[in-house]
Point group: C2
Chain length 358, copies 2
């Protein structure tokens, strides 16, 4: 079983201090942060979670607890073969304005995750964090750590200053293609310089906002397809992590229909939007929409071959964690969604039978 969204948190962002030079160490120790000393210097979201993000039963005290609790409550409990670490506060790196600081924090995180997590347990794999508002330097960071065999994807927040197919971001796609790494766009980053996460302006409540966060995924799907990202870099994948699932066919139907009528705008495309999506876009399961009548969800999933499109994710240790034994998908889809699909997209994952624990 492969879990594509496991958050490796820290007790204090000051674990990054050994990976920063003096100039930025000073920023991290003395500079403004959204919480007390030790918080990561991201912009704070306008939508404050009314409960807090972490599961109430996961309470790390020491730094080692983060791994030990993950081992106990996720890796061993569910016999996870591969857990793809997606960071935690670090995802919001895209929200700060200072690009020099952003790039330094991204590099510091990547070095720290290699030293402190990937070396600890062979089941753990890493995501290369980049500061996406500076695509040239983000591409350089992808090339700097992209050769590490346990780095299996690049990660950016769904909140962004533009949709990710825009040519502004093409240096990132170029580097991803060169390193043969998929790009995960993970829910987050709806703050700071990413001023337009929500259509029609800011919602009011956390639950209202959370329900609408799938909108960013819709925009990135449309943009990467329309700008021909998958024509230019045919070995790349876009993985939408935690952006929801059941909106996907609607967007593809709309894109196909509008493309058919007005395709003269984008003559570099050779196939229907839904065909690019089938071959290049994947969605992680958590949070899978959850109607009372599960057949209603399945009716929607069947319209876009979800059996081959979804990748299991638990979102451990967050408040809306999904237990892999309980996700509401048809039984004969489980082998694909919980394992095989991820091994196809993440080219660096071991083949099924070479499973081994630390």
């Amino acid at each position: 079983m492969i879990d594509c969204d496991v958050h490796n948190d820290w007790s204090t962002a000051e674990v990054l201090l050994p990976y920063l030079d003096d100039y930025f160490r000073d920023f991290l120790i003395r500079g403004e942060k959204p919480g007390p000393r030790g918080t990561f210097p991201r912009a704070q979201r306008a939508w404050l979670h009314p409960e807090g993000f972490r599961r109430q039963d996961i309470n790390p005290v020491t730094q080692d607890d983060h791994y030990n609790l993950m081992k106990e409550h996720l890796l061993d409990k569910y016999d996870i073969d591969v857990a793809i670490l997606t960071g935690d506060e670090t995802l919001d790196i895209s929200t700060i304005a200072n690009r020099y600081y952003g790039n330094a924090l991204a590099s510091a995180y990547n070095n720290w995750v290699i030293d402190e997590w990937l070396s600890r347990d062979r089941r753990l794999k890493g995501s290369i964090v980049i500061y996406s508002p500076d695509p040239e330097n983000a591409a350089a960071e992808i090339r700097r750590v992209g050769e590490h065999p346990d780095m299996v994807q690049i990660i950016m927040s769904s909140g962004s200053i533009r949709p990710y197919g825009d040519p502004f971001y093409h240096p990132i796609w170029e580097a991803a293609s060169q390193m043969n790494l998929p790009i995960a766009v993970h829910l987050g980053g709806q703050a700071g310089i990413n001023t337009q996460t929500f259509s029609s302006g800011p919602p009011t409540f956390y639950w209202e906002a959370h329900a609408l966060l799938c909108q960013a995924g819709m925009s990135h799907v449309a943009s990467t397809i329309a700008h021909g990202v998958f024509e230019k870099w045919p070995n790349t994948y876009l993985i939408l992590t935690e952006c929801g699932v059941s909106w996907f066919p609607t967007v593809l139907w709309r894109l196909d229909n509008d493309y058919r009528a007005l395709r003269k705008e984008t003559p570099w495309l050779k196939r229907l939007p839904s065909e690019y999506a089938r071959d290049h876009i994947r969605l992680t399961t958590q949070p899978l929409e959850n109607p009372d009548n599960k057949q209603h969800l399945w009716n929607v999933l069947e319209t876009f071959d979800a059996k081959h499109t979804l990748l299991f994710s638990s979102d451990y240790p967050h408040w809306d964690f999904d237990d892999p034994t309980k996700i509401p998908i048809p039984a004969d889809w489980r082998e694909n969604i919980l394992d095989a699909n991820a091994r196809q997209v993440y080219s660096r994952l071991p083949a099924r039978d070479s499973k081994s624990h630390s």
Copy 2:
């Protein structure tokens, strides 16, 4: 048959001159507009349609042609009982910054449509255009013309400065409730002061943008429900016009799920979001998503009782007009979607058997 989205265009916006006082007449004659003299003074969209908005076969020359062509190509051809006029350029009134001018243009349009359209043909019904960024004056305009028996709804653009459940807009809902009129939110207004129509910032191409315009509908659904609009004004309806359809169940599932987890944020709500939606939100059909496999669309429509939620619309005379004889819905839903549902929501429409033409 009732068509809930029929655009009554003009040959020149100067038809409004007799309905403006000298101060604003000067603005309309001499002031800046997005096109030549006679264009309506809205902000221009950043997404330029690569073909133009009007059907190629509808080419009015004189002002009378607008009605005569509508009569020939829509009203008589399809034996339409009621055509709800939704304006055309006027919908983008919400995009201009000058609220005094916006309010004056809204009143001028409403007087013009009463004089020039509603008096011409008993099948035609009107929508009260308001300048939504100024809710107090918009509410006054609703009360000013809301007694007219042929005005059957209020209309605003889907592009807005905030989502429409926000208390900023409550004077509009209060007036709608008082006049017992539904509020239609029609696709448009993605320009000018409505800077955040799209999640994740501006898309690039018209077809890409058009496919994503449903995002605004999602935000207005979430906002009106979360702020308790339908608890406060239980006789009101939100009608999403031209915002698409098949995204609707996804949003309701997400809202229900997130509300269940975090409902303490909105203690004024007494029911699930999907229950408010069932009783208070309707969607017009054009553009109905159109997958190659129609059963896929129907699978989605069945999850939210589309038979009782959809209202037929043709979007005449726009480029993506839907022929009422060809919309892909199950045969036994047609009576509801093409007629009965609208008569339930539009309380001022005549009962079925009192059908009469001009």
